[in-house]
């Protein structure tokens, strides 16, 4: 299952998504942060643990205690800076 990354998360890892096996799910968002962090170096791991980095499940912002199920659309991204 693909976990989407945007902005400087994508840039730091050098990829726009991290692929995780389906059997990693269901998983809590805080645990998923750590798992996705393992795909990169220390700088990336630190970013993934940063509380300012948001998680969206099925395009809705989710808290760290939310659960991600296999098949959900999941993304991590920095605070938004549009407009």
């Amino acid at each position: 299952m693909k976990i989407l990354l945007f902005a400087f998360l994508r840039e730091t890892l050098g990829r726009e998504a991290v692929e995780l096996p389906d059997d990693a799910f269901p998983i809590r968002v805080d645990r998923l942060r750590a798992l996705v962090g393992e795909a990169g170096d220390d700088a990336f791991r630190e970013l993934m643990a940063d509380a300012n980095v948001l998680c969206a499940i099925n395009q809705r912002v989710a808290n760290d205690d939310a659960t991600v199920n296999a098949g959900d659309e999941v993304a991590f991204f920095p605070p938004m800076t549009g407009g």
Binding site: L54, A75, P78, P79, M80, G82
Partner: protein, 166 residues
């Protein structure tokens, strides 16, 4: 009545304003906002977004605005990709029978777009170096005036919750 469009093309704010709600003779007030790329130390701007979620969040904020004020129409057009200083980043139009609703809705949707629509900006300085723009606390404070949460996370969730409640 409520429209959102994300585009890579240059935005012509004057043309959008001219066409906006022009076929509705119940409209007595149109308020529009044009957000532009500043120059100065910045030589270029690049905007990235999360397709799908971006439209969803902006639609949710317009739905929320339409429940708060009697609107006749609302439209948001937002640019993505590479921009030069002076180009339009975002255009918001709000139309209502009387001015208060249009003024309020336009500002409300912009305040929420700043903190809850998944766009990310980076700027290129005069030496060609790119740097990501950091979220501003002032934007969060502005959003809080509408009675919302204390963090971007809460505000973003709030919009969607209101959307679901309708």
């Amino acid at each position: 009545m409520l429209q959102v469009r994300i585009t890579q093309e240059r935005i012509d704010a004057a043309a959008l304003l001219d066409a906006f709600a022009s076929d509705d003779d119940g409209v007595g007030a149109v308020v529009s906002f044009t957000g532009k790329a500043r120059g100065g130390a910045v030589s270029a701007l690049e905007l990235e977004h999360y397709p799908g979620m971006t439209e969803r969040q902006i639609e949710a904020s317009m739905d929320s605005a339409a429940r708060r004020w009697p609107l006749r129409a609302m439209e948001v057009v937002h640019r993505v990709g590479l921009l030069e200083p002076g180009e339009t980043i975002v255009w918001v139009g709000a139309a209502s029978a009387h001015r208060a609703a249009a003024f309020n809705a336009c500002e409300f949707v912009m305040d929420f777009l700043k903190i809850a629509a998944p766009f990310w900006k980076r700027e290129r300085d005069r030496d060609g170096r790119w740097q990501w723009v950091e979220a501003r606390d002032a934007d969060l404070q502005r959003a809080r005036r509408w009675g919302l949460g204390t963090s971007a996370d809460e505000a973003a969730t709030y919009i969607v919750d209101r959307d679901n409640a309708s």
